[in-house]
């Protein structure tokens, strides 16, 4: 099969890294792949992952059209970041294909896209969510309010998936909206990921070295990674306060760093903020740690690369019992309820501190399960299967779209389009 894959390729993109793994697996399975880099113009100049195949930029229209004419299917790796996915948004409507959806909320990407497409954006908001959302969507005072106000009512996934021939996503919890909005198949496939730093991991890892349990959070440090709650949980336990070092590795804005440092200092919690590091240093940090914290609230992603990475490295991992994390087997991670976050976190961390053996056993179970589940080979095979299924369904999708378009030209109201009799007559094409 010949696949044209639109994806961020820049090294800082986790989706780019995943796409790269899948591309190598596809090529190994005998398929042809052309990569269309989807980042915004400035990022296109930056170094990319090594895809080992032809790569073209999304904004070179002639090259993209020529490549599209030669391909069997277009594939779009889509996450909630316009800077990384501008090319996907730009081409999806023109060249429909299979969307690999990494987040069940793409409101930030939509917001950024809307700045140059306000009329279309308002029309999309009105179509999917109604007039009230149109009035409020662009008026939230800050990001936290924006997420809180839109994550349930207007996650905008429908905007993307309604344009797709088929959808692959990586956990089940957000799929009902996708099934309603995408006319083609919707498949759940575990994210492809690996543990690239395994070979550089500290060979002399020692649990609770110097009597201290190392706790680690990685990735871009923001509110939804629950760092403040972790600090408070540690502070609430004399045992943890005395024996836990909590480290943050990943980009963090200065205000957040200041706030968290002040909180930790005030509560006498041992917090280390390392900031951004290279891949080797990150692998060492993971290798050294005893426990990974992958808490999230709200959880909007279809899968978490850092949680998968933690499991692939065989680390005991603490997650919030929600979304993607809730679908991980119970014996592979420690699940914390958001409603009683600090208390549950405290007792869980105390138990993990006191039982290095049980901790290691859970990490090993997680490693084995994650290694067999988050496989690039499996992802590549399922991507090809979904592409074939989407192509087969395409005539039916086009037929249904034709009838809906005719009804709309005739001024059909939403009520009429959703009437049982109308849906019944279109069901013959399902």
């Amino acid at each position: 099969m010949k696949l044209l894959i639109f994806t961020p390729a820049v090294k800082t993109s986790a989706i780019g890294r995943m796409s790269c793994l899948v591309t190598h697996a596809l090529v190994a399975q005998g398929h042809d792949v052309v990569i269309v880099r989807a980042e915004e113009k400035e990022l296109l100049r930056r170094p990319s992952h090594n895809f080992g195949t032809r790569m073209i930029p999304w904004n070179d229209e002639k090259q993209v059209l020529d490549a599209a004419a030669q391909c069997d299917i277009a594939v779009y790796q889509v996450g909630d970041n316009f800077l990384y996915h501008e090319g996907c948004v730009s081409w999806l409507a023109r060249l429909p294909g299979v969307v690999c959806l990494h987040d069940f909320f793409v409101g930030h990407m939509f917001y950024a896209w809307a700045q140059e497409n306000m009329d279309a954006a308002n029309s999309i908001l009105k179509h999917w969510y109604g007039d009230n959302v149109v009035k409020s969507f662009f008026k939230y005072p800050d990001n936290a309010a924006f997420i809180e106000g839109t994550k349930d009512e207007a996650p905008l996934v429908e905007w993307i998936t309604s344009q797709a021939l088929g959808v692959i996503t990586h956990s089940r919890w957000g799929t009902p909206r996708l099934i309603r909005s995408c006319a083609g198949p919707v498949h759940v496939v575990p994210l492809a990921y690996d543990a690239p730093g395994e070979s550089t991991m500290t060979p002399d890892y020692e649990p609770n070295k110097f009597g201290r349990m190392k706790l680690l959070t990685i990735g871009h440090i923001n509110r939804n990674k629950r760092v403040a709650s972790v600090i408070r949980a540690i502070a609430s336990s004399p045992l943890l306060k005395q024996n836990v070092v909590y480290r943050l590795v990943g980009s963090i804005d200065p205000d957040t760093a200041l706030d968290l440092s002040a909180l930790a200092n005030g509560l006498r919690v041992n917090l280390v903020i390392s900031g951004s590091v290279d891949d080797t240093e990150l692998a060492i940090a993971v290798g050294e740690t005893d426990v990974m914290s992958c808490l999230r609230w709200p959880s909007l992603e279809a899968a978490s690369a850092s949680a998968i990475e933690a499991m692939l490295y065989g680390k005991a991992t603490v997650v919030t019992d929600t979304g993607f994390y809730g679908e991980i087997p119970d014996d592979c991670v420690e699940k914390i309820s958001h409603e009683d976050e600090i208390n549950e976190l405290r007792t869980t961390l105390e138990r993990l501190y006191s039982s290095p053996g049980a901790r290691a056993a859970m990490g090993e179970r997680a490693r084995q399960w994650a290694s067999s589940t988050y496989s690039a080979d499996n992802y590549a095979r399922q991507l090809v299967d979904t592409s074939i299924a989407s192509q087969r369904l395409r005539p039916r999708v086009i037929a249904k779209a034709y009838f809906v378009r005719v009804m709309k030209q005739w001024g059909a109201s939403d009520e009429l389009l959703h009437a049982e009799e109308t849906l019944g007559s279109l069901a013959v094409m399902s």
């Binding site: 034709y402 009838f403 005719v406 009804m407 030209q409 005739w410 001024g411 059909a412 109201s413 009520e415 009429l416 009437a419 049982e420 009799e421 109308t422 019944g424 007559s425």
Partner: protein
């Protein structure tokens, strides 16, 4: 269903073939009830493609939604429940928003179909006016010719008034019976044709019984052979046809005029008024038993006058020059 439109389509096909063309009739199923299924039936027709024919002549809703680059409409029926019958409170569309949505859908779809048609003809002035009023499209009236004019020659001036065609409430044969009860005892009436439902037939039988008209009325309520129907018509003294606000002249009236029979109708009967000129080609009564009784009496009071009305009706009809060769020529322009 087999009615005037179906009959017309078969005769149009026949006359297209006579004119040297290949022609087929494509009948498209359509059911009014339930109204909620109307939109899906409209869609079905819109999806039909007839790219292997040179020309499409579409006659009625929703058949005129068929796409074709050379489509001519000979409009016999719009979906009147969305237009004038809606205004008259005689619609089958549901009340409230749902009905409003359906009505808007039908109007928009009709407008789209009309706009893409090469030419639009209507079967009557009433249909033309309705099209202009509700959809703002102009059309040319192209009255349908009668199909077997040879059957309507000869005959006598008989001793009865004939009311032929389908029997139902809208055709108001019962009103003729009510009127007959008010006429002189020498006035007789033959009502002949298929009832739309058993109840329609029973209503007439019950009226004859109730009004004591058994010796002055013949009810022949069935689908008649054409020859039998023509026999009734050409031997009548006059022909009565009083539908409620019908679009077209009506085959019964056109055939009666061909046969040179004086015509009786009512002032609210619609298209037929194009052929019935009061005291010229017949009589236009008020739609009430007493008024109708007066004109039914008049048929037999001065037979010479009645015959002259019949001749005038034939002359008027002939002046329309409505023949199949001319009709085919117009439709293929």
């Amino acid at each position: 269903m087999w009615g005037g439109a179906e009959e017309l389509s078969v005769n149009l096909q026949k006359n297209l073939i006579i004119a040297g063309h290949d022609s087929e009739v494509l009948r498209i199923p359509f059911q009014w009830e339930p109204a909620s299924r109307i939109s899906s039936q409209m869609l079905m027709v819109r999806a039909l493609e007839l790219w292997n024919v040179d020309k499409v002549i579409a006659l009625k809703f929703p058949a005129f939604y068929i796409r074709h680059p050379d489509k001519t409409l000979w409009l016999l029926h719009q979906y009147r429940q969305a237009y004038d019958l809606y205004d008259a409170g005689q619609t089958n569309l549901p009340p409230g928003q749902e009905g409003d949505d359906l009505r808007a859908l039908i109007t928009n779809a009709d407008n789209e179909a009309f706009a893409e048609s090469k030419r639009i003809f209507t079967n009557s002035e009433v249909t033309r006016r309705r099209l202009k009023k509700y959809n703002d499209f102009d059309a040319t009236v192209l009255l349908p010719p009668i199909n077997d004019p040879e059957l309507f020659a000869g005959g006598q001036f008989g001793d009865y008034i004939f009311a032929g065609g389908r029997v139902n409430g809208m055709k108001r044969q019962h009103l003729l019976l009510e009127a007959l009860a008010h006429t002189s005892s020498n006035v007789r009436l033959i009502i002949a044709g298929p009832p739309d439902s058993p109840a329609d037939g029973n209503q007439l039988r019950e009226a004859v019984e109730r009004l004591g008209l058994g010796d002055r009325v013949k009810l022949d309520l069935r689908f008649l052979p054409r020859e039998t129907y023509a026999e009734y018509l050409i031997n009548a003294a006059a022909v009565a046809y009083l539908p409620f606000d019908e679009d077209s002249l009506g085959y019964v009236a056109m055939e009666a005029a061909t046969a040179g029979k004086a015509l009786i109708t009512t002032s609210d009967s619609g298209g037929i008024l194009g052929l019935v000129k009061h005291r010229e080609t017949g009589w236009v009564a008020k739609p009430a038993a007493a008024s109708l009784a007066d004109v039914m009496n008049a048929v037999f009071v001065d037979q010479a006058l009645t015959r002259s009305y019949g001749r005038s009706a034939r002359d008027l009809w002939n002046s329309f020059e409505i023949t199949w060769p001319k009709t085919v020529e117009s439709l293929l322009q």
